[in-house]
Symmetry: none
Subunit: 196 residues, 4 copies
DNA sequence: AATGAATGAGCCTTCATTCAT
DNA sequence: CATGAATGAAGGCTCATTCAT
């Protein structure tokens, strides 16, 4: 039975949706094009009418995820309580990652290994995110909300604090306690762990 | 040309060495047994005289890496300057990770998705590491060197701070500035980033 | 050169046909999937689009053979000359086996030792055949056409009388003289060999 | 630890003994040289000091079996009760086959498939056996103990009666009831199954 | 003669991709 | 655009055999 000829964008979208689930569940390499078309209820050929390769659809999934995760962070309004806004952003980020659950893992663990030739905008994505965090830190320093000091490495560490708990929860097959994670990070940002 | 007849341990070691490089460069799935034996200068059958499968040699590489990385951390002597010892450990860890370069990525990115059947001790490794970090934090709290508060999530974040800069440096194809990374983490642990 | 796109049933059938010849000539283990696809004029992947494994296609060949050989035996009509009908059945069976030539050897020699996990219905097939023969003998006894006595072992021997001459002809690379064989068996059934 | 340097014949014999068990349990193809040397407690190289190939040791096993099985048949003494002697021979044969159990299967099912190039004396063995049976039948006819008629096909059928029950018992994983089998065959030889 | 590490051809199987319909 | 049969390179693994010690 022939699937209805959807407009190209919808078909594409439904393939990406299916692919996201499949990749999330199995990971990139173990997931097969067969899995994806089965999940999408579409014939093999159809897949290749919309994507040139497995890699390309993976990139599409990734791009979508990046937008979604990046979108939850709200710009800081310097006239309001900054700490509270940072905290709220952390909670939103943690919640987003927890809800995406499996899917986010892709962004975090697999993408790099697939990105030969840099065809996937992963490096760019991270560069973008890092730049954003670094700018936030610098701005904060200028406003006196962030301690002075180098900013580049700190931004990297910050990213790690966000990603690692997600990874570990997945690895241990435990659910992610998003609020606890957000609070822990906030606590670290506020005062470190070592007492003076 | 026939490879010289080594005793099993040496041959095994040389295969693990070769495999480590190959896995580091290509990642688990893209690396083939063919790549490994070529790197080791050995025939296909020889590989299978020493390892039952690609997965098994991967596990061996992993185990080695764990030992090496874990080995650089030295226990804290409470009668001496604790902050300084923490800092020294961070520097040693950072240096170890930087020197292993590509190889460490294995520990960090792959291994999940390969671990069907839990045959690879990755989860166990992380559990072990986390337990160690958590204990260090708790001990520190008892000694008054670490701020009171929950310890579980913080340990996870700490791990992230260590791993992420390594990953990002790799992704950006930049060398890792180990001392800077260690200092940044130390700074974070000491006082967070937000000023009070 | 690409093979024409057949409907799945035809392709499957052509593969089974090819496999039957290959298995007949080489036997199960020595025959390779490569031999089969070559005989079928089809690419490797095509084979696995239709069969999950070499074992599965072997089972398919076996099933076909069973049907063909089993199909030539006609039920006895008690109102007619029974001896003559038995004899006719023997001739038909012998002819069928002779015409299948090599292929029948499969049914007779291989299949054991392949049947790990009992996935191949060989034991079942023989159980079925034996039951049929035993029933025929019992029925015959009730009708007074078959001597009284145990029936189980006799059925087994009967089967052996049919198979062995086929095997031996093959082994000696002689053609099978089907009518002679049928007559010999008929003679044996009628009066044994020892005179009283 | 180095095995004592047995005299060649003993070592050879112990290898053949080991091989017989291994082949009997697994069948020719699934049995590996590794299995055999393990069973014999000997190193790989040692095996090839005594046999040129797996096939060669298989042939040796076969030759041994042929001797053993053939040896139990005793020549008929025409001055004594011939029926009884035939019956006794049948019982001895059946018992021999039952005791060899698995090993005999080799002779019966696998050998042919391995005998490319006729390197194994299987055809010769069967020719020999058949000749012996045929001669017995002819002699019997001359003595009036065997019904007149062709003898060639009957001899083949006779062989089948002996082999098949062994095969079937094995296939069904039942023990072989040797006396019952011998009696059934004797009954068949005496009077067939069809009543007149 | 015994040893066992090394060999490599060859096998079965997978799966991303192509293309005729 | 949709379809799905066909493709074939590539991969993991086995195992009979060789040979230096």
């Amino acid at each position: 039975m022939r699937a209805p000829s959807l407009d190209p964008d919808s078909r594409r979208a439904s393939l990406v949706r299916a692919a996201r689930e499949v990749f999330a569940e199995k990971g990139y390499h173990p997931a097969s094009v067969g899995d994806i078309i089965e999940a999408a209820g579409v014939a093999r050929g159809t897949f290749y009418n919309h994507f040139e390769s497995k890699r390309e659809i993976f990139a599409a999934v990734l791009a979508e995820l990046m937008l979604e995760v990046g979108g939850v962070v709200q710009p800081i309004d310097v006239r309001q309580d900054i700490h509270e806004q940072v905290r709220a952003n952390l909670h939103r980020l943690a919640a987003a990652m927890a809800s995406q659950g499996a899917a986010v893992r892709i962004l975090f663990t697999e993408a790099e290994g697939i990105d030969k030739d840099g065809e996937i905008a992963l490096a760019a994505f991270y560069a973008h995110v890092l730049a954003r965090v670094e700018k936030a830190l610098s701005d904060g320093q200028r406003l006196g909300v962030v301690r002075p000091g180098e900013v580049r490495q700190s931004a990297r560490c910050l990213l790690g604090m966000l990603k690692e708990p997600v990874m570990l929860a997945r690895l241990a097959r435990e659910p992610l306690d998003a609020p606890a994670m957000a609070e822990a990070i906030y606590g670290l940002l506020r005062g470190g762990v070592l007492s003076v």
